[in-house]
């Protein structure tokens, strides 16, 4: 063996001491992290009234009464729910497609591995702003701008989803294999060509995966947007609650549960295709 690479007893003793030191440091850090998480959980729960006994006084009885009042579910008006259900799904589809189209260029431009800080910083600020405002608040804004109906819902979903998807796409872009990009650059391929031929082929199954997940989320989100007048099945539920029609409200919740389950199952199947598990 080459002398300079030999693991001598002195070196071995040195590394034994290093290993002990690293081990002590690692366990101390782990204990501190666990302690920190527990303290955070107890602190936040306690400060929101989680340990106040009087808060729990009549809660159980109210829930039982509500459940009793809503059984059996009442489907007698189900023929009038078809249009709101279709609207909800269409809002989800249009909102997701619009946000995906916007998030692809924003995601590429926001990647710190591709673009200079002068470009990435405003993109990150824009994505943060879009994401920071919940869909429901976007819904109120767009209902004011476009009036009641599904169009306001589409833009509300698209605005928040662009922020979320843009952030995901940025992170995905920052983690692509650099080798293929370097190869393209060494052959004089333009930045746009590197994005098209080096980055997108590595990303598009993941992009499709995240977008489908977002679509499933948007369908659930679209059901609540009705509450602020942005169309869909949400308005029916809010109306049923306001009229104390709990049996109809339960029927509507069951319909939404079925809708979301079907969409999730379909989404999972399509995702498997995109991720190549079925090919």
């Amino acid at each position: 063996m080459n002398e300079e690479r030999a693991f001598t007893p002195v070196l071995e003793e040195h590394y034994e001491q290093c290993l002990d030191q690293w081990r002590r440091k690692r366990s101390a850090v782990r204990y501190l992290v666990v302690l920190g998480i527990v303290a955070l959980a107890v602190g936040s729960f306690g400060n929101t009234g989680g340990f106040a006994r009087d808060q729990y006084g009549s809660a159980a009885a109210t829930v039982v009464t509500l459940l009793r009042d809503s059984i059996p579910p009442d489907f007698s008006r189900c023929h009038s729910w078809m249009r709101p259900i279709i609207d909800t799904v269409l809002m989800g589809v249009a909102g997701t497609l619009l946000s995906t189209l916007l998030a692809i260029p924003l995601g590429l431009l926001g990647a710190r591995t591709l673009c200079p800080m002068i470009v990435t910083t405003p993109i990150h600020l824009l994505l943060n702003a879009l994401r920071a405002i919940p869909s429901l608040v976007w819904g109120i804004l767009f209902v004011a701008a476009f009036g009641f109906g599904s169009l306001a819902g589409v833009f509300a979903l698209a605005a928040h989803s662009t922020g979320m998807l843009g952030k995901f796409f940025t992170e995905l872009t920052e983690h692509v294999e650099p080798g293929p990009l370097q190869a393209l650059r060494s052959e004089g391929v333009s930045s746009l060509g590197v994005a098209r031929f080096g980055i997108l082929p590595q990303l598009h199954p993941r992009m499709a995966d995240v977008s489908l997940y977002r679509f499933e989320h948007n369908i659930r989100e679209a059901t609540t947007l009705g509450a602020v007048g942005a169309g869909g099945i949400g308005l029916e539920i809010v109306t049923a609650f306001h009229l104390f029609e709990y049996r109809e409200a339960l029927a509507l919740l069951l319909v939404i549960l079925l809708l979301v389950t079907v969409i999730d199952a379909l989404g999972a199947k399509v995702r498997r295709v995109f991720l190549g598990e079925l090919s």
């Binding site: 294999e177 080798g179 293929p180 370097q182 190869a183 393209l184 650059r185 060494s186 052959e187 004089g188 391929v189 333009s190 746009l192 060509g193 994005a195 098209r196 031929f197 080096g198 082929p201 590595q202 199954p205 190549g276």
Partner: protein, 247 residues
Amino acid sequence: MDPTKTMKIRVERLDVKRSNRLILKDISFEIAGGEVTVIVGRSGVGKTTLLGALNGLFPCSAGTISILGLGELAEPRVLLEHQRRLATVFQERALIGRLSALDNVLLGFAGACSPFALNPFSREQERLAIRALASVGLAPSARSRVERLSGGEQQRVGIARALVREPSLLLGDEPFSSVDPAFVRYLCHEFRQLVENTKLAVVLTLHQLATARAVADRVIGLCEGTVVFNGRSPEFDASAERLVFGT
């Protein structure tokens, strides 16, 4: 091959820094079309950096690289034209694992295709890509995903991706490191044939000295970031080997 594409490169007093560390110091040599030049040296000596300087990925911090008939690489116009004429087989195979072998070879044409086209590669380019895969014995695996191929097969796809560009300068960073010895002999023979037929200039880094001696016309030995040997392949004897590897 277009005779005007015959390559001659002059490297003069080249320094290259990476992460503020001087990797290559005062390097000078020439590369000619119709020759295989092999760069040898211990790991970390700067072989990959030297290839990176030749393909324009790493800028020179001092000295020049001139291309006959084009000019100095420091000029953006010259660099772009030079890059269009070269191909590199990278050590970390620069392939996209989830694409097929054929699609990866087609990426060699990316510079000539529109990024906005839905089907960017022409039928003729597909035919050339299949032919390049056949030249490395992988035409039957054209539709297989690269991530499902063995390390040696992936390396051969990388070679096909470079060959399909019909370059006038072919750079290879340990291009045979995962290929089995029998196929290395075959590929060396193919490389030599290609060089003789097309007057292509080939620069390879190799750690197998027997392969280096078999394939090279010229050997350049690097030690501590400088050239310590530059001569014809038969001149690379035991004493030259000691000079380069210090053993």
